[in-house]
């Protein structure tokens, strides 16, 4: 079996005396679309932050394609091919939409900290950024400051920035939070196209989105994964039904 | 030994003066997240207002009314200036208070001119309280020390024992929650800014006669007060106290020491050059501790910021 794209082993995190993540083991294979679900306060966002280096874990390891990520800063993890979006929209509000996307292309195109290249000279940067704008359907907004976009457009831009660098592991934190039905459908289609052939990990509350997109699902409750598997298996798992899904499904009807 | 006692008293005097400024500054910072660059300007206004009042009705009314005037001025500036800039973020706020410091200095020059004002301590305190060896300790200095201590205790009492103190402490950490509970947080902000600047005003009233009342007095003290609260830890009242006293004694002892760096150089086996003018290290040989005394606080601050960005007592990042 090949090395998993992402592998968590014995991951724990405490804030003060409160243990938020209480030993998470998880393997996500290359090319898999994986959703982490769970009730509010289960630690989903914390888990994301531990994987991407925003917080250091108290103990345990995270491996990306077999490489240990312990002690690495977010930018180093990103360079290894992992990119994430945020639950609260996190873009560059004063820069134009195009500029937002272009900046997220710079590192992966090998520009690093160079101060001898002109970004406007590089055709592949301009075309790459325009291609992504096309994908996320924001070409018409190209030259507006990102801060003036509508909420749904900002969420789309957020996803655009996340995928632009060409990372092969994409992590999306509640990509459809706070969206209307039609906006959600648009974002789901968008996610499906842009994560083709990539590994996707996402946190999501909308069960429709989860069951529509994910190949596998993990259920996180109180910092522990109580079930993991295909949507059908998870749906049928009595523990999940008891702890979480039953209530959520009931609420939906 | 006499010198040590005198330095302890002088250092305490200077430290407590710093504390009267830094306590208000740190309170304002922890409430509103803004470092008030113009804080020492309010201290200067206190001295000038008190001088003007003392011209008409004497020193004691000045001690009472000048800080009140300064506090009202501070509250108005918060209401009509700072609150407006607040929406643009912290850096513009800092720039605003920086501009305010410039403007207040120019206004003071406009009304009172460039010269030292003949602002004096009251007659009743113009005597030597006691002497240590050949050094006289004026009564006014001791009066100042006790006044500032009293103010500190009063502040502590208000913050920890009264209802309004509870609201302030709560508003420090959870402004939204406090607002949701029905308290008028903008009003609390305005009040805290007013009280903080009034405290600076008191310091000005008290220090004016000793350190001189002139347009540069805010500039002389301004950045040191900043340094104090950064060293103490932003938002920590105890940190401000400890750092103020530390800096007070540090600068006083450094200023009165006779230590010269030449002894250090000779100590590590270097030979004093014959012709000083030709030596590249001339300045090191003639350097004395009193000369570098004024920059010690800055060195300390940079070290603190690099090694321990939350200061000695601070809990949160700058």
């Amino acid at each position: 079996m090949s090395t998993p794209a992402l592998e968590l082993a014995g991951l724990r995190k405490s804030f003060g005396r409160t243990e938020i993540i209480r030993g998470v083991d998880l393997k996500i294979a290359k090319g898999e679309r994986h959703a982490v679900i769970g009730p509010n306060g289960a630690g989903k966002s914390t888990l994301f932050n531990l994987i991407t280096g925003r917080f250091p874990p108290t103990s345990g390891t995270v491996r990306l394609h077999g490489h240990d990520l312990t002690g690495l800063a977010p930018f180093e993890i990103n360079r290894m091919g992992l990119s994430r979006s945020f639950q609260i929209t996190n873009i560059f509000p004063k820069m134009t939409v195009f500029e937002n996307v272009r900046c997220s292309l710079l590192w992966s195109h090998g520009y690093r900290y160079s101060f001898w290249n002109m970004v406007s000279r590089s055709r592949d940067l301009t075309e790459g950024a325009d291609r992504i704008l096309e994908q996320i359907n924001l070409t018409a907004r190209r030259d507006l400051p990102a801060g003036v976009l509508s909420y749904a457009e900002q969420r789309a831009l957020e996803i655009g920035i996340t995928i632009a660098g060409g990372a092969d592991v994409i992590m999306l934190d509640e990509p459809t939070a706070g969206m209307s039905h039609s906006e959600t459908d648009y974002i789901v289609d968008l996610i499906r196209t842009v994560t083709q052939d990539k590994t996707l990990v996402m946190v999501e509350h909308d069960m429709g989105v989860v069951f529509g997109l994910a190949d596998t699902i993990s259920v996180l409750v109180y910092g522990e994964i109580i079930a993991s598997g295909t949507p059908e298996a998870v749906r049928g798992d009595p523990k999940v039904q008891e702890a979480y899904l039953g209530a959520a499904l009931e609420a939906e009807h | 030994m006499d010198l040590v006692v005198i330095n302890l008293i002088d250092g305490l005097f200077y430290g407590l003066l710093l504390f009267m400024l830094s306590s208000g500054l740190t309170l304002i910072f922890s409430m509103m997240g803004v470092l008030n660059f113009a804080h020492a300007s309010f201290y200067m206004l206190g001295a000038y207002f008190a001088y003007q009042i003392s011209q008409y009705i004497g020193f004691w009314p000045g001690l009472l009314f000048a800080p009140i005037l300064v506090g009202i001025g501070g509250a108005l500036i918060e209401r009509y200036g700072l609150r407006r800039v607040h929406q643009y973020g912290h850096v513009p706020e800092l720039i605003f208070t920086f501009g305010l410091a410039l403007l207040i200095e120019e206004l003071v020059k406009f009304f009172w001119g460039n010269n030292l004002m003949p602002y004096r301590e009251p007659e009743i305190l113009k005597f030597v309280l006691f002497s240590v060896g050949s050094n006289a300790v004026p009564a006014y200095k001791i009066f100042m020390i006790f006044t500032s201590m009293a103010i500190f205790l009063a502040l502590l009492y208000v913050l920890t024992r009264t209802r309004i103190g509870m609201i302030i402490q709560a508003a420090l950490s959870f402004p939204r929650t406090v607002e949701a509970l029905g308290h008028n947080v903008p009003l609390v902000f305005m009040g805290v800014f007013g009280v903080g600047t009034a405290l600076a005003g008191v310091a000005g009233v008290l220090a004016g006669p000793v350190l001189g009342t002139f347009p540069g007095m805010a500039f002389v003290l301004g950045s040191i007060v900043f340094v104090t609260i950064v060293i103490g830890g932003l938002g920590s009242l105890w940190g401000a106290l400890v750092a103020s006293l530390l800096l007070g004694w540090l600068t006083t002892f450094a200023a009165s020491s006779s230590f010269a760096f030449s002894t250090l150089l000779e100590g590590i086996g270097m030979v004093r050059p014959e012709d000083m003018d030709e030596s590249m290290l001339r300045d090191l040989w003639t350097l004395t501790l009193p000369q570098i005394g004024p920059i010690l606080p800055y060195i300390l601050m940079i070290l603190i910021l690099v090694l321990r960005p939350y200061g000695l007592f601070g809990k949160r990042d700058v």
Binding site: L106, Y113, M118, R121 | G99, E106, G113, V230, D283, Y298
Partner: protein
């Protein structure tokens, strides 16, 4: 020079508009070339030299504040150190007759500014915001204090002097005259401005904006916010050093005043007044401030009060500075409706100006009344001399002040409405 010209054309070629991109630079260069023939007097040349040095310094400051989001209270240090080094080199050239042409000297200023910025930046750029501001203040105070202690290098309170004419003559020019120096400074100003502009277009310059807006997001795009800040900081130090070198050449003296915190504060003021949000903002700030400084200071003793008030008003009401105010008009201009604003502007701005001038006159009168020596009743205001204690001038100034502001207030709603109309596109009639 050739190198940058090539670069410039190359960029232009990349995006297809050669002349359009290069044109502003060519126009500015030509303008600077003919300027000394329009304003040839010595005092005009002095002001223009001062202006151009300030432009370079203000632009370098804006690499920190505007482009990188770093508020520095100690930027004068880099200009000062660059200037002091150039002065020492100038003296070495004189003492050992070294064959170095004088116009090259600012490079050394830049290198030493860069060197100091590299050392300081290695620890100060770890964080932005208040920590950075405080460290910059500390370093600024520290080096300013050192400049009085270390006499061998900084020359104590008198500073150090030099003589620029001992360098290798360039085409027979020995730089005895201000006008000759003017061209050196103009050349450097254009070059430095161009390089700083180009820097803002490089990957690291673009990322500086990204880090300013949202450092955390930049980290999740593969960039370390700290290193991006560090590179901007070093570049800013370099150009500040260049400005220092130009200062040394122009004035042939440097003192502690060139690097103390007052100087650092002034450059913050200039950059902000001009507008930190746009690349050209600090240029406007430098030009306006130098003019104010040299013209107003002759007319009024309290000109610094006016500048202080202007600064505070800018921070409160126009956080985009003068450049921001200019750029506010771009949408109306695009809609072709700028013309409709002219009359409302005249109706509001002219009375407002009269009101402000009246207020200034009142302040001058108060100042005169409070501070004039006994018996010195004469005051000169607006090029007229009169008795400062007679009633008429006070009445006139009060009327101008109150009346002007009253009219301006009355016409302001009209201006606001016109502004709104000018910024709304015409609705096309439905087909």
């Amino acid at each position: 020079m050739t190198d940058t010209t090539q670069k410039d054309t190359a960029i232009a070629a990349g995006s297809g508009i050669t002349l359009g991109r290069a044109l502003p630079w060519i126009i500015v260069s030509l303008f600077l070339l003919v300027l000394p023939w329009i304003f040839g007097s010595n005092s005009a040349i002095t002001i223009m030299n001062q202006m151009m040095i300030t432009v370079v310094f203000a632009l370098s400051y804006n690499m920190l504040l505007g482009q990188g989001g770093m508020l520095s209270f100690g930027h004068a240090v880099y200009m000062g150190v660059g200037g002091f080094m150039v002065m020492h080199i100038m003296n070495l050239i004189e003492d050992y007759s070294l064959p170095v042409p004088m116009p090259l000297l600012p490079v050394f200023g830049g290198l030493f500014g860069l060197g100091l910025a590299t050392i300081v930046g290695s620890f100060s750029t770890r964080r932005a915001g208040t920590v950075f501001a405080m460290i910059s203040l500390g370093i600024g105070e520290l080096i300013a204090a050192c400049s009085i202690i270390i006499v061998a290098f900084f020359g104590g309170e008198e500073g150090i002097k030099g003589d620029r004419t001992y360098g290798l003559p360039v085409f027979g020019v020995e730089f005895l005259q201000q006008k000759e120096v003017y061209f050196v400074i103009a050349g450097w100003t254009v070059l430095a401005t161009l390089l700083m502009y180009l820097f803002s277009r490089t990957p690291v310059g673009r990322m500086a904006n990204a880090v300013r807006d949202n450092p955390e997001r930049a980290e999740f795009l593969g960039y370390s916010a700290r290193w991006v800040r560090f590179y901007s900081f070093c570049a800013a130090g370099f150009f500040a050093g260049v400005a220092g070198g130009l200062f040394a050449i122009n004035y042939e003296i440097l003192t502690e005043q060139n690097l103390n915190t007052v100087q650092s504060g002034v450059i913050l003021l200039i950059a902000f007044l001009g507008g930190v949000g746009f690349f050209f903002g600090p240029i406007i700030g430098a030009v306006v401030f130098t003019l104010l400084q040299s013209v107003l200071s002759l007319q009024s003793e309290i000109w610094q009060l006016y500048v202080g008030a202007l600064f505070v008003a800018t921070v409160m009401f126009f956080p985009g500075g003068l450049a921001g105010v200019l750029m506010m008009h771009v949408p109306a201009w695009r809609l072709g409706k700028l013309g409709s604003l002219v009359v409302p502007y005249i109706k509001t701005v002219i009375p407002a100006m009269i009101g402000i001038l009246g207020l200034a006159a009142l302040m001058e009168l108060v100042f005169h009344a409070r501070h004039a020596a006994a018996g010195e009743d004469e005051i000169t205001l607006f090029w007229t001399t009169f008795d400062g204690f007679s009633v008429l001038p006070w009445a006139l100034a009060s009327i101008a002040c109150v009346g002007g502001i009253w009219i301006a207030r009355a016409t302001a709603p009209g201006l606001r409405a016109a502004w709104h109309r000018a910024n709304t596109p015409d609705r096309r009639p439905a087909a």
